[in-house]
């Protein structure tokens, strides 16, 4: 599904990603772990097409489609979704209005008309129930005055509404208390299928207790320095990242 080869990226001429290789197949869950500043969020941003970062080398493909030349919204139309580590506020735009716009823009890109209000409502009801979101919450301005946990839950709600092929969850666990973590994780698990894939960025084992990864990768200084199965996450938890530094 996703193929990344020799990915290099820099910001303001400073190299951040230094040759990443990663292949994600449909139905898989991959975890990316690593210390602060390793380049995890940068990698997510580059996949999503954030133009603050310059992709200097390499290949990013989604289902055989070269993403490098696509604008961020076109990548979204291809099925890329990023749950932001720091979601932004849009005052005066309700969660509902935002998601409605997003859904209809994605449909437009596929040559479809707007989703009928009835269907949209049904879908909102279904997905907000799945994530135990109070519907009053949906009429609030997007992320404005949201707690850290509310922001993250709202990201996953959007993911549920948009049904992407590839979801990248950037530190979705931070800011969530244990109950919220369980709800969000179970939501993600229910949305998983053999046709989509998830990349979970985290530096704690915690979330991975609920969403079982098929592969765990350790990102350090812009490179994947170690890959393994779920047990690697436990090993990291035990030994800490200093252990990784010794590997490099």
């Amino acid at each position: 599904m996703l193929k990344i080869e020799n990915l290099h990226a820099s910001v303001e001429d400073r190299a951040i990603l230094k040759g990443i290789n990663l292949e994600v197949k449909p139905g898989e869950v991959h975890a990316i772990m690593g210390p602060n500043g390793a380049g995890k969020s940068t990698m997510a941003s580059v996949i999503a097409g954030n133009e603050s970062y310059e992709m200097t080398e390499g290949v990013i493909e989604l289902e055989g489609v070269d993403l490098a030349d696509l604008a961020p919204e076109e990548r979204a139309h291809q099925g890329v979704f990023l749950s932001f580590q720091y979601p932004v506020e849009i005052p005066g735009v309700s969660v509902t209005n935002f998601i409605k716009t997003a859904i209809n823009e994605n449909r437009k890109a596929k040559g479809l008309g707007d989703m009928p209000a009835k269907d949209l409502l049904k879908k909102i009801r279904e997905k907000s129930a799945l994530l135990e979101i109070d519907r009053k919450f949906l009429s609030r301005s997007l992320n404005e005055g949201f707690s850290g946990g509310e922001k993250k839950r709202n990201e996953i709600f959007q993911m549920a509404m948009l049904e992407p092929k590839l979801a990248i969850l950037d530190e979705t666990d931070s800011g969530l208390d244990i109950d919220a973590l369980r709800i969000v994780a179970s939501g993600v698990n229910k949305l998983k299928s053999k046709d989509n894939a998830v990349i979970i960025i985290t530096h704690y084992q915690r979330l991975l207790d609920y969403i079982k990864p098929d592969f765990v990768h350790v990102l350090y200084d812009g490179k994947i320095v170690k890959s393994g199965d779920a047990s690697l996450a436990l090993e990291l938890e035990e030994k800490g990242y200093d252990w990784i530094k010794e590997l490099v």
């Binding site: 954030n50 919204e73 932004v88 849009i90 997003a102």
Partner: protein, 482 residues
Amino acid sequence: MSKYTEDDLREELKTKEYEYGFYTDIESETFKKGLNEDVVRAISKKKNEPQWMTDWRLEAFRVWEQMEEPNWANVTYKKPNFQEIAYYSAPKPKKKLDSLDEVDPDLLETFKKLGISLEEQKRLANVAVDIVVDSVSVATTFKKTLGEKGIIFMPISEAIQEHPELVRKHLGTVVPTTDNFYAALNSAVFSDGSFCYIPKGVRCPMELSTYFRINEGGTGQFERTLVVADKGSYVSYLEGCTAPARDENQLHAAVVELIALDDAEIKYSTVQNWYPGDAEGSGGVFNFVTKRALCETNAKVSWTQVETGSAITWKYPSCILKGNNSVGEFYSIAVTNNYQQADTGTKMIHLGKNTKSTIISKGISAGKSQNSYRGLVHIGARAENARNFSQCDSLLMGNECGAHTFPYIETKNSSAQIEHEATTSKIGEEQLFYCNQRGIDTEKAIALIVNGFSKEVLNKLPMEFAVEAQKLLEISLEGSVG
């Protein structure tokens, strides 16, 4: 892949054409350029006005001659040469039409470009327009409904003929001819405008609109509007201008007077979209408007405005809260782009006890434009327990534009409660990327963010106007991406 920067955004905003910039070639009759007493007399004569009206105009002219054009506003422009302007232009009368087929195809085309078909317009049965170009029947229906309630709604030139006592009693009582340079000029030479009277205790059953008057030559330049809401009455008045861009009148100086007698309420909504000039800053309308309302006891006036057009806007819809417990509201969205300059705001003059005012101003600046809010809250010595709440928010796009806030407060009574809040924000690349990531392109994202920013004010507009206003905001700010 190229990086999408603030520069690109700015570039895009510049390339936006004035989308409503078509014009209809209606034959018209125009006076020679220049202004003197004879021209004032000629205008009055042309309109067959009674002597008192002619005298009133002449008095205004004499005052105007002694006045200087003000220059305190935060705008810079080359002052118009008032002798280079033709002060009268009226469309040549056309013969009565029996069916739609006979309507000037150019005019039909204009309606089409405005996105409002005649059919659609008919369906908007809630909107009465004082000149419906197409269909006599619709106009008659409205006239009948209004007439049954005793509501008078007609061009002010007709009102001067048909209801001289009403016009004479109220004209110039809120905005005296001596008020300011442009008001004096308007009083001397006003071409036409609307007059509206709502009798005691009557609730006007529909939104009154001047929407379709815009294409009528000569009404735009020195428009005069007078709305009188008698005791306990209510009216919502819409003044719309998705005007054709090809307006030869560079200077516009309108005067609007609202009178809300005891327990009356007037809602006055404006969408202003005069030609803003091109991307280099040439051309464009100078819009110098004086709008003021007088509120008697328990009366309420709300001004709501969406200003997207004009090269220069100078406009301060105000409320004189003369009666006890009277309420004044001002809700404004002002958009400036390219080289546009807007200096707009309001004055709330609290004279009565327990008077209350609310000011919500949203300024959106893009390109190299300058957007200023100028507001005065005045609490008179006898205005016990007056209250004001003001909120001024500015949204900036790019680094070359400016937003300024000039709030003035004068309090002569210590029981006053005045609150002022102001914020400035910028459409950030992070916000745009967030929207893009959800599949929303930059153009749509800007529209979404701007609409969110303006929501509190858009919500104050009547439904059908809100949709139009939203469309205008998008048109004024979006470039065609790619």
